[in-house]
Amino acid sequence: DARVTQTPRDKVTEMGQEVTMRCQPILGHNTVFWYRQTMMQGLELLAYFRNRAPLDDSGMPKDRFSAEMPDATLATLKIQPSEPRDSAVYFCASGPTGLNTEAFFGQGTRLTVV
């Protein structure tokens, strides 16, 4: 059963600490998205990649956030330093090129910054 895997599922960290969230896209999918979900803003697109290259990361605060795909099986989202306002659920999704088919979502990482 192919699925997008995100780790960790939950993360509590202190303000100022570095946070790394990981995503394993479905094998063969070459489009990967990072979203942030909050009550106030809903689902915000932070960045997305095609064939490991960033296509658009305009939704991401550049001073503290970074997103990479070291290889086709791993996408990472880092926050350094973290702040309380970063508390949210972060979702990774993957899909085949020509995404007018479907984006498959992971279970999300719930981040709490205290």
């Binding site: 997008v4 489009t31 998205f33 979203y35 803003q41 809903g42 689902l43 697109l45 997305y48 095609r50 296509l55 658009d56 979702f91 999704a93 899909g95 090129t97 020509g98 995404l99 007018n100 088919t101 479907e102 984006a103 979502f105 992971g106 279970q107 999300g108």
Partner: protein
């Protein structure tokens, strides 16, 4: 740039009643339209999609949506809802570059 507006943040409805969740989009290019559902503590999953062709699209769990280009709408409907349909529903639009943008969501609450 494309955008999506979901006009209702919450929709309460009684079981077996019909429901419509509204979605309007804006885009300067051809778009593809989607509805996703999110159950508590879960990721999103696809309900249905419009790519081209027939403007009435049928999806899973008895849901359907109608694409209306002149009104730039893509409303989701179900003729008779069940308690298990209680969830958050998201309308989304993608463009030819595969950028996938979501609306703010509509919370559907079905009461017995």
């Amino acid at each position: 740039a494309q955008s999506v507006t979901q006009l209702d943040s919450q929709v309460p409805v009684f079981e077996e009643a019909p429901v419509e969740l509204r979605c309007n989009y804006s885009s300067s290019v051809s778009v593809y339209l989607f509805w996703y559902v999110q159950y508590p503590n879960q990721g999103l999953q696809l309900l249905l999609k419009y790519l081209s062709g027939s403007t009435l699209v049928k999806g899973i769990n008895g849901f359907e949506a109608e694409f209306n280009k002149s009104q730039t709408s893509f409303h989701l409907r179900k003729p008779s809802v069940h308690i298990s349909d209680t969830a958050e529903y998201f309308c989304a639009v993608s463009d030819p570059t595969d950028k996938l943008i979501f609306g703010t969501g509509t919370r559907l609450q079905v009461f017995p």
